[in-house]
């Protein structure tokens, strides 16, 4: 049967692709820059994980966050904090980015990121009350991809926010401008509100850290990160490279942040993906001994 050798070759392609991909998988070493008393950390506070509507398990996400040059990220699944707490528990005793427990509090009238929480926040309530619940747990509240459709963000709610996603992957410039307009409105109501950049990663590109937040922290701990956001010591970076936040902090970030990590093995990585893909296709199409 001609199918059998082709099927065996396909299996070999899968194995070769996975081995090659594993070999080409290098995480660059990272030391966050320092400015005076502060470390400048890179964070992503809006990431979805499995189990939930994210496709990657938390420990896999942590590897990806490290590869993308992040020092901290928050797992924020919709209306549940189980996955985030699991992620945080798993990440306490190993090296790698800090993992914070969070939730995307998802209501028809608003989406709200809660970070640094210990239990689920009820989404069936007005934004002001959800924000109060988050603060009562010692967490911080960030408006998620805030566009005009989210009518739950009244002036009262905005005054209570700790941060707002000024940078979030956008379909077009109009949407990007809406996030920035909301940030400017929030700044007028609450001058200390933090500019946040988040990827809102689920299962497909754009990857973790595409949009990110630079934080000026006194200590590289969860408390240090939350303190930086509460006090507005952040700069948001969008996918076009634009920075948002206090102009002095923006200038410091421009001076201090090294360039984004480069995928030095991009060619091998693409080859490994192609081999695995072709191999699986072959396994599906060609006849084997028992098929």
């Amino acid at each position: 049967m001609i199918g059998q050798p082709l099927r065996a070759f396909s299996a070999l392609c899968v194995v070769a692709g996975v081995l090659l991909g594993t070999r080409a998988n290098v995480t660059p070493a990272r030391v966050p820059p320092r400015v005076g008393d502060y470390w400048i950390l890179a964070g992503d506070f809006h990431v979805h994980a499995f189990p939930g509507d994210g496709s990657l398990a938390p420990w896999t996400l942590r590897d990806e966050a490290a590869r993308e040059g992040l020092d901290v990220f928050a797992v924020t699944n919709h209306n549940q904090a189980f996955t985030a707490r699991l992620a945080q528990r798993q990440a306490t005793d190993t090296n790698g980015p800090l993992v914070l427990a969070g939730e995307e509090v998802t209501n028809r009238d608003y989406h709200l990121i809660a970070v640094g929480i210990t239990q689920k926040v009820n989404a069936a309530q007005p934004a002001t009350r959800a924000i109060a619940d988050i603060h009562a747990q010692g967490g911080i509240a960030i408006a998620a991809h805030p566009g005009p459709v989210f009518v739950g963000y009244t002036d009262d709610a905005i005054r209570e926010l700790d941060g707002t996603e000024a940078a979030h992957p956008a379909d077009d410039k109009r949407e990007r401008d809406e996030f920035v307009a909301f940030y400017e409105r929030a700044r007028r109501l609450n001058p200390r509100v933090a500019a946040i950049g988040s990827s809102d990663f689920h299962a497909m590109p754009a990857p973790v850290g595409t949009c990110r937040t630079f934080l000026f922290v006194r200590e590289r701990t969860e408390a240090g990160v939350l303190d930086a956001i509460r006090n507005g010591r952040t700069v948001a970076l969008d996918e076009t490279g634009q920075l948002y936040g206090d102009p002095e902090l923006v200038a410091l970030v421009k001076r201090s942040i090294p360039r984004q990590p480069v995928d030095e093995h991009a060619g091998w990585r693409r080859l490994s993906v192609a081999l695995a893909w072709i191999g699986v296709l072959g396994l599906l199409l060609f006849r084997g001994a028992v098929r």
């Binding site: 199918g3 899968v14 991909g21 496709s55 398990a57 299962a203 084997g288």
Partner: protein
């Protein structure tokens, strides 16, 4: 009955995908004893497809740990499919073959969804951004294709009349979509999230 493709080259999954009635009829009469091995091989390839597709879509790379964790995480999808298949097969009184053989033939009809997953992975591996709503819309193609295969399965393997086979295929599709959309609604914050996505797609 002759095979519609070059003998020994392509898997029976391919034959089933393009001429399901003819192929199921031929395979039902295969009285070999390797059905368990064949079933395990099919399930393994389906799980492997998912385990490769998930990391390729998410991070455009494959490593041993990414593939292993994805296989472990998403194996519940295969488990649900086995449960649904058992429901369809066991409830058919006029079934022409034993359960194991029928399960093997059921999963031989998985090719449309497997190819769709690979196509989506290829798109994601070569894009900076992929719209999930667009992907949901394209899932209609394997859905309709699979319904056609399931109807043939019901006629040839389960011994159903054409009208019963159509009803069973429709019921199977309903279960698949309700389960899939239910999972999406549960994990994304509620049904209003999905209706919002649909209305954006229609705009």
């Amino acid at each position: 009955m002759a095979e519609p493709f070059p003998a020994g080259l392509l898997s029976s999954d391919v034959s089933i995908a393009f001429s399901p009635d003819q192929t199921f009829e031929r395979l039902v009469t295969n009285t070999g004893t390797a059905h368990a091995r064949s079933l395990v091989a099919r399930l393994f390839v389906i799980l492997l497809t998912i385990a490769i597709v998930v990391p390729v879509m998410a991070v455009q790379r494959v490593t041993a740990s990414l593939v292993a964790v994805a296989a472990l995480s998403w194996s519940f999808v295969v488990a649900i499919q086995i449960g649904v298949a058992m429901g369809v097969i066991v409830s058919a009184r006029a079934r022409r073959i034993d359960l194991l053989h029928a399960l093997d033939l059921w999963f031989a009809g998985h090719l449309p969804y497997s190819l769709w997953m690979l196509a989506v992975a290829a798109l994601a591996a070569n894009s900076r951004v992929v719209d999930p709503t667009f992907l949901f819309a394209t899932a209609l193609v394997p859905s309709v294709w699979t319904a056609w295969i399931v109807a043939a399965f019901c006629r040839r393997v389960l011994g159903n009349t054409p009208s019963t086979a159509r009803r069973r295929a429709a019921a199977h599709q309903a279960v698949v979509w309700v389960t899939g959309l239910g999972y999406a609604a549960l994990t994304s914050g509620g049904w209003f999230q999905l209706t919002g996505s649909v209305s954006r797609l229609l705009q």
